[in-house]
Amino acid sequence: MFRRKSKSSSQSSKVHPRKHAIAVASIPRTSLIWLLTTQALVLLPHLLRIPYWVGILAIACGGWRIMIFHGRWSYPARWLKALLVIAVVAGTFFNYGTIVGLEAGVVLLLCTFLLKLLEMKNQRDAYLVVFLSYFVIVTQLLYSQAIPSAAYTFFTLIVVTSALVGLHQQQVTLQLKKTLRKGSVMMLQAVPLMVLLFIFIPRLGPIWSVELPSQKARSGVSDQMTPGDIAELSKSDALAFRATFSGSIPPQDQLYWRGVVLSELMGRTWRQASRELALASRTAQDLKLSGNPLITWGDQFQRWPNAVKKQGQALHYTVILEPTQQNWLYALAVPQIRNVDIGVTRDFTLIAREPVRLRQQYEVRSYPESLVDVELPHWLRRQNVQLPAFGNPKTRVFAQQLWDDVQQKPQQYIDRILQYFNRQPFYYTLKPPTLGFNSVDEFLFTSRRGFCAHYASTFVYLMRLAGIPARVIAGYQGGERNTANNYVQVRQFDAHAWVEVWHDGRGWIRVDPTASVAPQRIQDGLEAALAEEGSFLEDTPLSPIRFKHIGWINRLRLEWDMLEYRWQRFVLNYNQDQQMDFFNQLFGGFSWYKLALALGGGLAVIILILGLWIILRRQPIKYDPATRLYLRFCQWGKKQGCQRLTGEAPMSYLQRLQQQTPHYSIWTQRVTDSFVTLQYNPDYEKGTSFYQKELMQLKKLVRKPIKESL
């Protein structure tokens, strides 16, 4: 950036500072105001993410520039500029530990963009700054693509375009409104083209994928669970995913979005079974190996056809998952999928080949009534009855007693435990006390306060003590229903843990011990369950979900959600597949020829419409018939080398024309006389018979020039 200017700056450092003031005049005041405004607007959305010293640099550069404009300071010397560049690079390195990578790259770009102010000497440099602004604007979208940032980007685009317009104005005054209007009109004219290109330009997959800072933090359910983990998650109102059903939404207590199956207990922590854990935590490369016996990829032949007995109606729905950085996806029980990049695990959860870094959309068919693992393989049974050899002595005694009480009948055993949860003073709370080594003992007999994870893990513990295969399922339960549009919005606070117990002859059956303690949690969601405690989203007092009970705020929130959902679904998720679908619908099949035709045709139509609009706006005048004829006559004159000048009256023109074309002097005389009569003689007002006659005469005359021999 600095290379190009170094020559001229070395020259200018030799001349007297006064000279600088003269050079400055080449960027007028209005242009400078535009440029500074543009820079401020471009910088603004980054302000909270970037190191504070960039803000200081911005103010310093702007201030210096203004001083240069007033002729008080001169341009920085070459060594100072070099020093600034080094400082910026060093500062970036200090903050990020690197100067490559996305965040560091953005900061460097912003800094060079700011420093450019200090070496902007003529109009050409100003253009460079404006064009650079267009580029820098895009960096904002790397961080957020939600509607507000898109709208802000559009606004900034208008301002930058206006700045470009402003650079062309020589006026001393700013003419803010006029210039902005011009910029906006230009942008709006470009919008149809933008839409067309958006729809039809072929989508390529990302050529490289950068890990964005906003996505570094993993979110959602993790692959291991210590009682208390999910309570942490429940403090967030961030969106987890949206699911749109093609039919009606199943009842709330059927919405168990399975994420991970946790079947291994290590101390107090539940994990995925070690083989699966190994699979999930391995690199994406490993996962792609189709040899993994525990995953069936979407394009593969079902590996364990006897594990599932498909039954009942299918639920058909589409999920748009927010980035989680994890491999697993969420779905209702017994999903079926036809996506090459998504697999079904042996536990019948969904798994992606690569961690979900970008918002991902997938289509699922679930068969909730199917039976799973009616015949439990031995290895799976072993996995799901495994327990630590010791610990929780009280619980062991309690379980043994109960098991004997019910004469070792599993169903009754389950019911008795659920009854126990229900009848004893157990509490559902977001703030459970911390438990010691014998946590199950403490929970069951002393504290009796816990979140879903406590109940689920304790329940599975009790099951396994009796030798019944059981496992913890982590995922989400419920969600906010939008019945009008058939979609469910699931947020982080909907995270949940429940249990699946294996029954002989019926396979895995879902049991939710939390429902025995806090049935509202299942029916009405977390907020209702915590109504007494008041701990729902207490760390985020401004979350709009807290104001649900105020009617209009809730309506507004739902409308906004709807809008955002549409934006995501139709704009941000408009990928190659959707493009193809759209194309198939529109033209019945894709071919490059059709694509080219659609693009070209669309472009032509848009430009035609815009062109027509401009032409019709510019020329509202409709000539009256006599004038039209006369103008045709003038065209003839022009061809003869004698153009009628602006402001030249017919008679004066006639004189010139006759000199130029003496052979036609009688004809030209007659045409002019006729026109003058029609136009300027009040006796020949429009509508009179004179007028009609004379007009016919003129029409006849103009049609064919008459040449006479001299």
Binding site: T627, T646, G647, A649, V676, Q679, Y680, N681, E685
Partner: protein, 306 residues
């Protein structure tokens, strides 16, 4: 009829050789009942033109030489005590005649100027509480030296606007100048000029001017001109409705002089510079010297046929 007007022009031309266009403009101005301002250097024939016009039209003529000590009473007249009748009798000033030549009008003080200008507009004067009508027809032909001369009081815009036209005579071409050099003195020539029109005929002509009809297209053109001066940034201010009316009147008179019963755009163009140049100026022009250029611009910038 047109012949008579032509004769008028040629008669005046006898006294003022080679200035046919200016004479026609002056006549046109009088036919449209407007006052005329002639701006030129001394000795260019301003007085001769005024005097000759008066004679041709058969009208009474008075001349007032404006100086810086001229008082309003010197123009309008004064009441003087008469011993015989023991009464004040009114002695009319030079303004009580058909044609008044106000020579070097910008030498007088604004007070005296306004006395004349008031009379021009009202066509009557009020002296000592009594309103006296001025003779009909009544024309003022004022002459002035260009503004840049020392010791003058330039006329303000409001008063310039009361003159229908401002013309300047300019140097004669060599042929005409030779005639001037060889011929009789202007004074003698003037006296040989015979009236061509009677007062009644003049009045009739003035009425006929009103009868020259402008077509819609002509009015459109005229209004486009007015709009142009009001819209463009180069004009300090646009033409007033009075200026528009003056332009139309003059164009009508010009059409009549050319023997037409309707107005052509050429008629407007012919009188446009004279009618508008003293009414226009650029924003930064404080001496009023840019009007001529601006009115020329109107001719080329506003199209006739649209």
């Amino acid at each position: 009829m047109q012949q008579k007007l032509d004769t008028c022009v040629s008669s005046v031309q006898y006294a003022l050789a080679g200035k046919q266009q200016e004479i026609k403009l002056a006549l046109c101005c009088l036919l449209s009942q407007g006052h005329l301002l002639i701006e030129d250097l001394p000795g260019m024939g301003k007085t001769t033109l005024a005097h000759a016009l008066a004679r041709v039209l058969g009208l009474t003529y008075n001349r007032v030489q404006f100086t810086s000590d001229l008082l309003p009473a010197d123009i309008l007249g004064v009441s003087i005590y008469t011993k015989e009748t023991q009464q004040f009798t009114f002695h009319p000033g030079p303004i009580f005649s058909h044609i008044v030549l106000a020579d070097e009008i910008n030498r007088a003080t604004p007070k005296s100027q306004s006395a004349l200008l008031e009379a021009m507009e009202e066509r009557q004067v009020s002296i000592e509480g009594e309103t006296r009508l001025l003779p009909e027809p009544f024309f003022v032909i004022a002459t002035q030296n260009p503004f840049s001369q020392a010791g003058t009081f330039p006329l303000p815009e409001s008063q310039l606007d009361r003159f229908l036209m401002r013309i300047s005579l300019g140097y004669p071409d060599p042929e005409a100048e030779r005639q001037v050099l060889l011929g009789l003195s202007g004074r003698v020539k003037l006296e040989t000029i015979q009236p061509v029109l009677t007062q009644e005929e003049l009045k009739a002509f003035q009425l006929q001017v009103m009868g020259v009809k402008p077509a819609t297209a002509v009015l459109d053109y005229l209004q486009r001109i007015l709009a142009y001066t009001r819209k463009q940034e180069d004009f300090a201010y646009g033409l007033s409705p009075r200026a528009g009316l003056a332009l139309l009147r003059a164009a009508q008179a010009w059409g009549l002089m050319n023997g037409r019963k309707h107005v052509l755009p050429e008629d407007i163009q012919a009188v446009l510079p004279s009618v508008t140049q003293h009414r226009l100026r650029e924003p930064n022009d404080h001496l009023g010297t840019t009007g001529a250029a601006l009115s020329q611009r109107l001719l080329t910038a506003v199209d006739v046929v649209v």
